[in-house]
C-alpha cells in the first residue's frame, strides 16, 4: 500500500538556514497564489461607521463653538441662513492585524488526498490576508518578525521578511499585540487544546481579537489507515505502532473532532472566530470566512 502521508520537506539537513532558504524559495510562488485568491473576494472593507479622521464624507452637523474654524463647510453653510455646518468625515483609523503562520515541521505534512501541504496553505492564507488588508489600508505585522506597518504592497514586504528570516520560533511572542488588534493565526492546532489555549491566552488578556485558522489535512481527519502501521511524529520523531490501525480509527476521529470542538467553543466564548480549512479544499473558502468575520463582527451573534 502506498503511503498516505509524507512531508514535503526533502530529507536531509535540518539546518535552520536550509529551511529558511527553502521557505524563501517557496514564498514568491505563494505570493502569486495569494494574489489570485484575493482577486476572487470582493472587498467589503468598510469604514468605522463613526465620524473621525478619514477621507469619506460622513455627515453635516451644526458648528459648535470651540471647534476649528477650518472644518466649517462653507458651501453647505451658505445654503442656510441661520446655521453654520461642519463636514464630518468617516473615521477610517488604520487597524493593526497581526498575521502568523505556524512554521513547525508538522505543518510540512501533505497526504495524497491533499493538493498542498499545510504550511503552504497556511502561508497562502496569511499572505492573501496580508494583501487584502494592506489594500484596505490596514497595518499588518508578523509577530517576532516585523513591527506593524502600513503599505500598499504589504504582502510583498511580509514575504521578503519571511524569506530572509533565519530561524522562526515555534511559538510567536504575542506580548506586543495591543488592544483592538486583530490576530490571524494559521496553524494545525494539533497540540492538546489546553496547551493551545495557554499560549493564546495572552491575546485574550490583552483584549485582542483572534481569528484561528485550522489548516487540516484530510488524512488527519479521516484516518484512512488500516493494517499494521507504524506512525511517526514529524516533530518529535516518536514512533507508535498500531497492530490494526482501522480498529482505533473511530476513537481517534472522535478525539480529533473533540479537540476541534473544544477549541471552537473556546473561541466562540471569547468572541473569536475559528475557521477550518482542509488542504483538499480551496483556500478562498477560508479566506472569505475569515474576511467576513473580521469585517462583520456584529453578525456573529445574530443568528445563532
Amino acid at each position: 500500500m502506498a503511503r498516505i502521508g509524507a512531508a514535503t520537506e526533502t530529507v536531509g539537513t535540518r539546518d535552520a538556514l536550509a529551511r529558511a532558504r527553502l521557505r524563501a524559495s517557496l514564498v514568491p510562488d505563494l505570493l502569486v497564489e495569494a494574489r489570485r485568491v484575493v482577486n476572487t473576494v470582493i472587498s467589503g472593507w468598510h469604514g468605522r461607521r463613526r465620524r473621525g479622521i478619514g477621507e469619506n464624507f460622513w455627515q453635516f452637523r451644526p458648528y459648535v463653538e470651540g471647534e476649528a474654524v477650518s472644518r466649517i463647510d462653507w458651501r453647505r453653510s451658505a445654503r442656510d441662513d441661520n446655521q453654520t455646518y461642519i463636514r464630518d468625515r468617516e473615521w477610517e483609523a488604520a487597524h493593526t492585524v497581526w498575521l502568523w503562520a505556524d512554521p513547525s515541521p508538522s505543518m510540512l505534512y501533505k497526504s495524497v488526498g491533499a493538493s498542498v501541504s499545510k504550511e503552504s496553505r497556511a502561508l497562502v492564507l496569511v499572505l492573501a490576508l496580508a494583501e487584502l488588508l494592506s489594500r484596505g489600508g490596514e497595518r499588518i505585522a508578523w509577530p517576532g518578525l516585523t513591527d506593524p506597518f502600513g503599505a500598499r504592497n504589504g504582502a510583498e514586504r511580509l514575504s521578503s521578511h519571511l524569506a530572509h528570516a533565519t530561524a522562526l520560533p515555534e511559538r510567536p511572542d504575542l506580548r506586543a499585540v495591543r488592544r483592538f488588534s486583530d490576530v490571524v493565526i494559521a496553524s494545525d492546532f494539533l497540540d492538546p487544546p489546553e496547551e493551545t489555549m495557554a499560549w493564546l491566552d495572552v491575546l485574550a488578556r490583552h483584549g485582542a481579537r483572534a481569528h484561528l485558522i485550522e489548516v487540516a489535512d484530510p488524512a488527519e481527519e479521516t484516518f484512512p489507515y488500516s493494517g499494521r502501521t507504524e506512525f511517526r511524529d514529524p516533530e518529535t520523531g516518536e514512533r507508535l505502532t498500531a497492530g490494526r490501525a482501522e480498529t482505533v480509527a473511530e476513537d481517534y476521529r472522535s478525539l480529533y473532532l473533540a479537540r476541534r470542538a473544544e477549541l471552537q467553543a473556546w473561541c466562540r466564548r471569547l468572541g473569536w472566530s475559528y475557521t477550518v480549512n482542509h488542504t483538499d479544499r480551496l483556500a478562498s473558502e477560508a479566506l472569505v470566512r475569515v474576511h467576513l468575520s473580521m469585517g462583520e463582527p456584529s453578525l456573529i451573534g445574530m443568528h445563532a
Partner: protein, 951 residues
Amino acid sequence: MSWLPLSFGVPAVLWGLLALPVIWWLLRLTPPRPQMELFPPLRILQRVLKKEETPYQSPWWLTLLRLLMAALIVLALAEPIFNPRDRVASGDGAMAIVIDNGWASAPDWELRVATAERLIEDAAATGSPVVLAMTADLPNADIGPFDADTAHDRLAAAEPHPVSVDRPAIFARVAAAIEPLPNPAVAVLSDGLEAEGDAAAFQRLLAPASSLVWIAPDDLPILGTVSVENRPDEFAVTAVRAADPMPRQANIVALDEQGRGIAETVLSFGPGETRASAAMAVPFELRNDFSAIIIDGEEQAAAVRVLDENSRRRRIGLISQAEADQAQPLLSPLYYIRNALSPFADLVETQSADLARAVPQILQQKPAMIVMADVGTLPDEAHQALVDWVEGGGTLVRFAGSRLAAAEHDEDLLPVRLRTGERSLGGTLSWTEPQPIVGFPDTGPFSGLPAPSEVTVTRQVLAEPSSDIVERTWASLADGTPLVTGDRRGEGTLALFHVTPEATWSNLPISGTFVEMLRRIVQLSRNQGAIAASGGENGQPLPPYRMISADGGLVPPTPEARPLDFSAGEPSVTIENPPGLYGGEEGVVAHNLLPRDATFNPIARPQTPLPITEASYAADEQVDLKGPLVTAALILLALDTLAVFWMGGLFSRRAAMRPRAASTAAAGAIAAMALSILMLSPGPALAQDQDAPPPATQQQEVSDAEAIDAISRTRLAYVVTGNSSVDSVSRSGLAGLTRFLTSKTALEPAEPAGVDIETDELSFYPLIYWPVDAGAPMPSDAAIARVDAYMQAGGTVLFDTRDQYSTSLDAGSSPANRRLRDILDDLNVPPLEPVPEDHVLTKAFFILNEFPGRYAGSPLWVEASLNAESRQDRPVRVGDGVTPIMITGNDFAGAWATDSDGAPLFPTVPSDPLQRTYAFRAGVNIMMYMLTGNYKSDQVHVPVLLERLGQ
C-alpha cells in the same frame, strides 16, 4: 488403527495433519512489517493507542494451543468413531442365545438387544447357527436354529413383555433344539431376577451345552408395587426391591381414569430394606378416583398397579323387612343408613322382602358389608349363607328393633347375647333419664371419635352381662350399658347397634356421629371377592380391556391377550393374560403382575462344570467423536481469543474501550459459530442469505420509513439540481433559515430535505425552494408534470434565478432566466405580479416592504390576486388561497447560508448586515405565509370583531 478402537469416516482428511508443520511455520513467522506512516497528530493517536506491539514471536504455549486446535479440527473432519467392541464368546460351535424378556428387562431392553447383537455377530463371523429364544414369549414361538441374518431380524422384532419369565419351559425347548447341533455354546442374558424352578431349568439347559456365556445385570434398580390398600384414612402402597445397602426413595403417583396424576407420595427404602410402604393421606372421594398407582420413573410393568372396584368403594348390602311404606321415608329403617353411606359406598339393595331370596341376592354381589335393620329371625338357608359369608371376611352390621328384641338369640350373627325385650329410659312411667353416650373405648373401631353430647338414647336392647362384654363394647352409654357391640367371626366382623336405625329409639341416627361411626365400620370391611361384570359366577371369561405395556403404560389390548378365565381359580399372569384391566365399560377386574408376597432376589449363576464366560450388558458404543472434538476445538478457540485479548492488554483498558472489545468478541463468536456450523453440518452447509430480502419489499419499506420521517416534522425542501455547489448552498441556506425560524418563531422545522423532482414524493413539503441553474440538465417532462401536480395540489415552488446582480442591466436574458422560462412553459402558471404593498406576505410575521436575498432589488413575483378587493380601511387585501409559485432573483439561499456556528458563508451584495437580516425576515414571512395562508388577512378583522362584541 488396530491398536486403538478408532475408525475414521473420512480417513483422507487425515492427510490434513501434514499441514500442521506449515501452520507451525506460519505461526512462528514474524508479524508483517508495519507500514511506515508520517502522522502529525500523533499525540492524539497516543491517547487511543496503547503500546500495542505484537511480540516478535508468539509464545510457545499459544503456538501449541493453535496447533492443537488445528489438529483437533482436522481429526474432527475425519469423522472418528470410537468403538470399544470386543468378542464375547469364543468357540466356533452353534450359539444358543436365551434372553429374558420379562418385565424386568424392559427398562434397558436396548442394552440387551445390543448385547445379543454382538453375540449374533460373533456367531456370524464363524458362520454357526443361532438359536434365539425369549423366556417370556409364547411357548410355541420359533426358536431356530437360524442363520445370523434371520437371527438379527428376529432379535430386532423381539420386545419385552409385561409378564414374568418362564424359564423351565423355554430352557427345555432350547435344550432340545441344541442337542443335535455340534459343540453348542449357550448364552444366557438374564434379567437378574430369581424365578421358581431356576435350578432345574438351568440343569436341563446346560446338559447338552459345551460352554456358557453368563450375562446378568450388575445391579437391580427395579422397583415393583406388590400391594395397594385402601385403608380407613389413607391409601397404602407397598413396594419391593432387590437387596441393596443404600437407602432409596421413589415417588408414588396415583393416576385417575384419564391418566392424570392426582396424588403423590414418597416411598422410602431404608438401608438394606427390600420392602417399604407409603401412604397417601388423601380424602376418600379422591381415592375413589384412583385407577392406577405407578412408581415415577420406573419404566416397567411391575411398577404399575391397576385398581379395580375392589380396592375402591365398598359394596354394602342393605336388608330390611319394613321397607313397605314408601310414603313416610323418614320412618323407613334404612333411610338414615342410606344417606349416611351413599357418599362413600355402593349400596346394594334388594327389592324382595323375602329374606330367603334377598340374602342370596345380596351375597351374590359380594358386598363388603351387609347392614340389616331390625331383622329378627333369618331363614335357615339364608342364615347359613350369611354365616359363611361372615366367616369368609364379611362385615355384618345389625340394628336393633322390635323384631330383634323379640327374636331368639342367634349366636352366629350377634356379637353378644341379648336379653329378650327392650329397655326403656326416660318414659312417662320411668324414673330414669334418657342416657347420653359417654365415649368410645380406645380398643374399638370408634377410638378417637369425640363423644356426642347431644345424643341421648331412650330405648335399647340390652346385652346379657358376660365376662367379655367390655371387650366387645364399641360404644357405651353413661350407665355403662353397651350401645354398640362388635365381635370377630372368623375373617369377618359382626357389629350390633343396640338402637334402631331410625330416630325412634334414640336420636343417634340423625347426628353426625352416626355417619362417622358407620364410616369407621365400612373402612373395617373388605370387599369379598371381585364382582364378575358379566357374571363371574358362571365362570365366563372377561375380555381384556386395558393392558399394562412392558414399559409401564396403559395400552389397548395386544393381539396375544386372551380373556381372563376365573373358572380355574385365580388366574396367573402369563403371556396370554398380561397384567391389566379385564372386563368392559361397566366393570373391570384388575389383573396385576406381582403377588402380595413377591420379592426380588438376584439370580445366582448356575453351578456347572462347563467353561463360563461372564460378561456384562454393554452396547456397541459407537461413540461419534466428531462432536467432542469440535467442542474441544471451540473451547481452544475461545481460550485463544481470551489469550489474545489478554496479551493485547484489553482487560486493563478503560471502560470506554468496551464497545470495541465487544465487537471484537462478537466477531470472534460469529467466527466460532460459523466454524461450528461448518463442523457439525453433515454435508456442505448452504448458508442462506437472509440478509437480502426481495428488493421490492425493501424498497417499499424504505420509502415508508422515509415518508414517516418526512411528514413527522415540517421541513423545508429544496430541489436537488445536480450541481453540487448549488445544492450545498441551498442546503446550508435552508439550514440557516431553519435555525432562524427556530429561534424567532414557534415553528421548529427539522433538517431541510433535498428532493429529486424526478422521483421523490413532493407532497410532504409545504414549500420547495428551486434554485434555477442553467448548468443543470433540464428536468424531464414527467418531472415538470409532477411539479405541476404539486402546485395544483396546494404546494408552492419558490424559483430563485440568483441572477439579480448580473441582469440588472439586461433583465430577462440571463441563462438562468431563460431556463426558468423553459420550465414555466410547461407549467400551469397563473398570472403573476410583484408582491403588492398590501399583500399578506408583507405582514405574515415581520412587516416588510421588500424581499432581499444576497442581492437586493429583484421583486418577488407571486400569483396576481386579480379579484381581491383592496379596501382603504383594510391594511391587508382580502383573498383566498396561497400562491402556488414565487419567483425571485435575489438568491435567498446565499443570504441564508450559514455554517454550523451561525456565521454567514457569503457576503451580501452590497455588504450590509441589515440586508441579511431582511433576507432572513423575508424567509420567515414566506414560510409563515405558506403555513398559515391568509390567516393574517383575517386577523386584521379582530379589532372590528372586538368592537362589535362590545369589548
